[in-house]
Subunit: 233 residues, 2 copies
């Protein structure tokens, strides 16, 4: 990435530290993105081994959050950053919290997937989860991309994808309720699918939060809870 | 509160700023606690006006988060705090994120409550939500109390209350599934109760997170994701 994201520091070491933090966030983001993909695939394909792998790897996500958080606190203490450097560190502290929670939601989807392997598969092969999963993967991928490039206009555009996810989610829920009422024997399975859909919808919210931190970093102002970007959590 | 929570600063003004931040977090906590109480009451008693009041007041919670966040960033920039002062500011930044999300969950409970006023009330008067609501209110109240006193041992004890909430939540869910299977006409209502129960369970998780930030502040180490305290989100 270009040098001009950060201010000119007397200390090259400080530049290297900020760059290192940024790279670690992107590495964490990559792992979380893979977790989401794998969780949806495990559920859709009834792959118990893959579901178990996702559940197992959540520890790695957690460990990354703690390590980056620690590094940020040390940078705050030692370097006493100001202006955009400070906003970067604050944005990172918030971003990793959302990434960690995306990891938790992916783990939940994987748990539902593992649970669902024990019962007969529906004819539609969980198409609603696959579809929602694709939308959610895309917003997460785009959010990580704008974080990497630190572009506020692109970040704003990505936040708008969340509205579509919310609409798809609502439609999925209505359909599942209809199934349950038509055939009460599908209630338990439908509930598992609902929880998975809910977890995916929340991943969309977290991805949107990450975009808001990018805007905060670039613009130097907090856009949360404004009309520009309204968050659903 | 006692002076000795903070280090001795040359600047009395700095002490006053930290004290002000702490007081504002407690004010925000008080509002959020009231929102949770009102949301559960509105749902349990079918009080549409109260539900609408909760939904309306969520803006106040959001505004408080943004204002405290801004104040913390300014303190980091101007005062360049170190050691326990720095940990306090970081703990506050994280705590207000959880408080804001508790506010969101309270709003969700209120929305379910408003929705449920349109359909006949069950014989049990939503006893499961009332019961879960009491447990969740208690853990939140206790979490805010340990935040006010900054006591790590008490914080550790409060985190343990969350396991009981999780058990009650699981029992509630199982019971609601049974109702749905026995009488599919109750499916829609049961789903609303489930979403409300889920929101309450998540408030318990956020309260636990706040306790973990208190431990981080006092002990100077991060206890998240350790065996001591395992978080469910």
């Amino acid at each position: 990435m270009s040098e001009n994201l950060f201010g000119q520091h007397i200390s090259k070491q400080f530049n290297a530290e900020l760059e290192d933090i940024r790279n670690r966030v992107l590495t964490m983001g990559g792992l979380v993105e893979q977790q989401v993909l794998d969780a949806v695939k495990a559920l859709a394909e009834g792959d118990l081994l893959l579901a178990e792998k996702v559940i197992e790897r959540d520890h790695e996500v957690n460990a990354m959050e703690v390590a980056i958080d620690e590094e940020c606190t040390q940078v705050l203490a030692r370097r006493q950053p100001a202006a955009s450097d400070l906003r970067l560190v604050v944005a990172v502290i918030k971003t990793i919290t959302d990434l960690e929670r995306i990891g938790d939601q992916a783990e939940k989807v994987a748990r539902m997937g593992a649970h669902l392997t024990k019962i007969p598969r529906p004819e539609n092969q969980y198409i609603e989860i696959q579809h929602l999963g694709e939308l959610v993967h895309r917003i997460l991928h785009n959010a990580l991309d704008v974080f990497a490039r630190m572009e506020s206009q692109a970040a704003l555009e990505v936040t708008q994808e969340d509205a579509r996810i919310d609409r798809e989610y609502e439609a999925t829920m209505r359909q599942l309720v209809t199934f349950m009422m038509e055939d009460p024997r599908t209630i338990k399975r439908s509930l598992d699918i609902m929880w998975a859909a809910r977890a995916l919808e929340r991943i969309g919210d977290h991805a949107k939060n990450i975009c808001e931190y990018v805007i905060y970093f670039v613009e130097g102002k907090d856009v949360r809870h404004t009309e520009l970007v309204t968050r659903r959590d």
